[in-house]
């Protein structure tokens, strides 16, 4: 898997982009009334890149400074990239042991809810006629 390292470290990658979009929004109505700090540990071989997401009554800010957190989410870089581009479901990643969450589970679920849906999800589907439904059923 490609890793952001060396001269490429400053280039936009899905992880920085994800946090940039969150920070840019500044406020997420979904989390009004909720406050939590999450630390993300993006494991890249021997290196660990840290991000902090601070939610305060719906206001959102992001830093790369270290510090205390209510929850820590740790995964290898490719898995974070997959989650942040909608290609890997965070809950599934936890069950498979790809994403480790420690501390407040409520905070971890807030992270999950910030993630995009799978690429190609349109929310639309073509109607199915009654005749089609009946033809799929064996006559009794």
């Amino acid at each position: 898997m490609p890793t952001a390292s060396g001269g490429l470290a400053k280039a936009p990658d899905p992880i920085s982009e994800f946090f940039a979009v969150l920070a840019e929004s500044g406020h997420l109505a979904t989390f009004e009334g909720q406050s939590a700090t999450l630390r993300f540990e993006v494991v890249d071989g021997d290196r660990v890149e840290r991000w902090r997401l601070i939610v305060s009554n719906g206001d959102v800010s992001v830093t790369m400074e270290d510090g205390a957190a209510d929850a820590v989410c740790r995964a290898d870089r490719p898995y974070f990239e997959a989650m942040m581009t909608g290609r890997l479901n965070a809950q599934a990643a936890v069950l498979r042991g790809l994403l480790v969450c420690e501390g407040s589970m409520a905070a971890c679920i807030m992270f999950q809810r910030c993630l995009p849906g799978p690429p190609g999800s349109t929310g639309r589907v073509a109607p199915i006629s009654g005749a089609t439904v009946m033809s799929q059923r064996r006559p009794e």
Binding site: E32, P116, P118, V125
Partner: protein, 684 residues
């Protein structure tokens, strides 16, 4: 072979064994030790000197504890046994089993005790659908424990079995060569722990801890029952039905990962020990007058997982309330969408209904303020995402065509929605009860907006939309020649014209024009729908009617409890009392534990209600049904800071007292005396 299944559970961990305490599962057999939707033991068989044991009796001590009294031999005639065995099992992070062997002779006994153990680590979905595993198995002996393991890529699960007494352990089980002194006893404590191995290579840990759940065993069943209102009734079976309901509700309580100290109702045992939007909401509505904390936790937990994005695989939309949450292997590998899955069209409007009903009972305006965004998002979902036909009605069609749910209403089997002639409509389907729920959500949302969120503009808009929906609904869904509401509109806007129990839910929702209510009542208590025990899901005479068809003729206690509530809402007190009578009498026959469904046979032809063949039990909303029926019979209705009591009880119930009903009035006692003649009390 013993065929009685004994089920004990704690959270989502449960054991299903035969009445000897043995487990001998096959891929399709639902016995075993299950936790987090995974089977961790599929074989657990006790022998003494190579012989299986025979049960003398089995005691359910608590819902999480069972005791088996056994003697050697498998014959039907007991010899005068020289020894006996007590096996006591308690569910925890797996289970603990205390095994005691008693020698009743005057001389010592030498015995070979053996416990065979194995696991297939099946996902619950695999047990249901008989699928093949993709990972590999390993059994090994580590530090005096037998470790059964399963691994697929980074997904790893383990069952660790250890014993306090010295054992010879091999890959298939534990052996004990023992001598029991004359009139003495030998004992060992067996510990079975379910584990998830760590992704980072560190040591495995109990799965509950790995997934962030703290166990909360000391939940005190008596304390739970003690907090609920006390019930006294001249008809004594009601007291034991009531206690059975509270005990089963305690067993069905489920803690989410994020709120370990609190619990909400899981849907049922054994397949549904997880969070279901619809089931948790309906059960919370039923139990509000008795155990309001279940509703509060349900509201919080569902908000926490409310949809935020478009995800076709999970049928997720912003604002949508989840359908089902699972933790097994197929979910882990995204072969099933339950992480969580959102394919339900009713949970979202019902969420708002529950929030309002909760506030009316408890006066907990703080929770309503805390959940304002969630409620607004749910209301928005109704208009923005649920109107798939563009005709102003809520309808459903799955976007995940492979593993999503075809029918996203409570009658979710393939043939549950049909025309009179048995044909099935296409998709999207706009079933009628969904329109009722959406109407009620708007009306109740308006009340919350006006009184709690201080947003009169939203309240006005919701009320206007509700009135418009009601007007259109009463025109478009009304089947003129039958005088009832069609079960759905199809994709051409045509009525799916069969007569169903859904009409009762419409009364409950309030969407029915007053002028039409009488006709509905007559259908619900008429010969085509009413069996004598309760209202059938589908009316006799419809092409697909089948008295033991899952949603096409059986009687569902949960369904009936809401229908009774609906009849009351439109002033049909005595008619509601007839449903109360039928379902409570059925509950007595089922020893207080109502099944999910029972046969729709005419009462006079079978005398006893016939249990639906594969219904699971206890089922949360069946457990809640007698509780809601009590509310209906006593006519309990919050009115400001007061509780109105307006009883209409079956005559044979005699005096009924429900003491210390909790709510915004603190505690109030409710009394009623049976005055309604409900035909008969035939089975005595």
């Amino acid at each position: 072979m013993s065929d009685e299944l004994v089920q004990i559970l704690e959270g989502n961990t449960f054991v299903v064994s035969d009445d000897r305490g043995d487990i001998e599962a096959s891929l399709t057999d639902p016995t075993g030790l299950f936790s987090f939707d995974t089977r961790f033991l599929s074989r657990w068989v006790l022998t003494i000197n190579g012989q299986r044991l025979t049960p003398l009796s089995t005691d359910d001590l608590q819902y999480f504890e069972t005791r088996f009294f056994l003697v050697p031999g498998t014959g039907t005639v007991y010899v005068d046994s020289k020894l006996s065995v007590i096996r006591q099992r308690e569910v925890a992070d797996g289970f603990q089993e205390q095994l005691r062997v008693f020698n009743h002779q005057n001389e010592p006994l030498n015995l070979q005790i053996r416990i065979e153990a194995a696991s297939d680590f099946a996902d619950l979905f695999e047990v249901k659908d008989a699928l093949k595993k993709k990972g590999h198995y390993q059994a090994r002996v580590v530090d005096g424990s037998l470790v059964l393991g399963y691994q697929r890529e980074t997904y790893a699960r383990e069952t660790r079995i250890s014993s306090t007494a010295d054992a010879v352990i091999d890959e298939n089980g534990l052996s004990f060569g023992i001598t029991v002194p004359a009139h003495g006893e030998w004992r060992t404590d067996l510990d079975v722990v379910v584990m998830a191995s760590a992704p980072d290579g560190s040591a495995p840990s109990p799965i509950a801890r790995r997934l962030g759940v703290r166990r909360d065993m000391a939940r005190g069943l008596e304390k739970w029952i003690g907090r609920a209102p006390r019930l006294e009734c001249d008809w004594k079976p009601l007291e034991s039905i009531y206690r059975r309901c509270l005990t089963d509700l305690a067993a069905l309580r489920f803690s989410t990962l994020t709120m370990p100290g609190r619990s909400l109702p899981a849907a049922g045992l054994p397949w549904f020990m997880t969070m279901f939007g619809r089931d948790s909401i309906f059960t919370s509505l039923q139990t509000l007058p008795f155990t309001p904390e279940l509703a509060a936790t349900t509201l919080l937990a569902l908000a926490e997982r409310q949809g935020t994005r478009i995800d076709d695989f999970r049928d997720e939309d912003p604002g949508r309330i989840l359908h089902e949450m699972r933790y097994g292997e197929l979910t882990a590998f995204e072969e099933r969408p339950h992480s969580p899955y959102y394919g339900t069209a009713d949970a979202t409007p019902l969420y708002v209904v529950l929030l309002d009903e909760y506030e009316r009972w408890t006066g907990d305006a703080k929770l309503v303020r805390d959940l304002e965004h969630a409620a607004r998002a749910a209301l928005n979902w109704i208009d923005e995402y649920a109107d798939l036909q563009g005709n102003g009605y809520v309808s459903y069609q799955r976007r995940n065509e492979k593993t999503g749910l075809e029918n996203q209403c409570w009658k979710d089997s393939w043939d549950s929605i049909s025309y009179r002639n048995g044909d099935l409509p296409g998709f999207p389907r706009a079933t009628c009860e969904l329109q009722g729920y959406a109407y009620d959500a708007k009306i109740r949302g308006a009340r919350l907006a006006r009184q709690v969120w201080k947003d009169p503009a939203l309240a006005d808009r919701l009320e206007k939309e509700a009135a418009d929906l009601k007007r259109r609904f009463n025109r478009d869904f009304w089947v003129e020649d039958g005088e009832y509401f069609a079960v759905a509109l199809d994709i051409d806007g045509q009525q799916v014209d069969s007569l169903t129990s859904n009409n009762g839910h419409l009364l409950w929702s309030g969407i029915v024009d007053k002028t039409k209510a009488r006709a509905l009542m007559r259908h619900l208590l008429g010969p085509r729908l009413f069996s004598g025990w309760g209202v059938r899901t589908l009316a006799e005479g419809e092409a697909r009617y089948n008295p033991i068809g899952y949603h096409v003729g059986t009687v569902w206690p949960f369904d009936n409890s809401f229908i009774a509530w609906g009849l009351r809402r439109y002033g049909y007190k005595e008619e509601a009392a007839r449903l109360v009578a039928g379902i409570l009498e059925a509950a007595e026959i089922f020893n207080g534990r109502l099944p999910e469904a029972f046969g729709g046979y005419e009462r006079t032809s079978t005398m006893y209600p016939v249990r639906y063949p594969t219904a699971c039990s206890p089922q949360a909303w069946s457990t809640g049904a007698p509780l809601l029926l009590l509310r209906v019979a006593l006519g309990l209705e919050p009115h400001g800071d007061n509780l109105i009591v307006d009883p209409a009880l079956p005559k044979w119930l005699g005096n009924l007292e429900l003491l210390d009903v909790p709510g915004r009035w603190k505690r109030i006692d409710a009394f009623g005396r049976g005055r309604v003649d409900t035909d008969r009390h035939p089975h005595r």
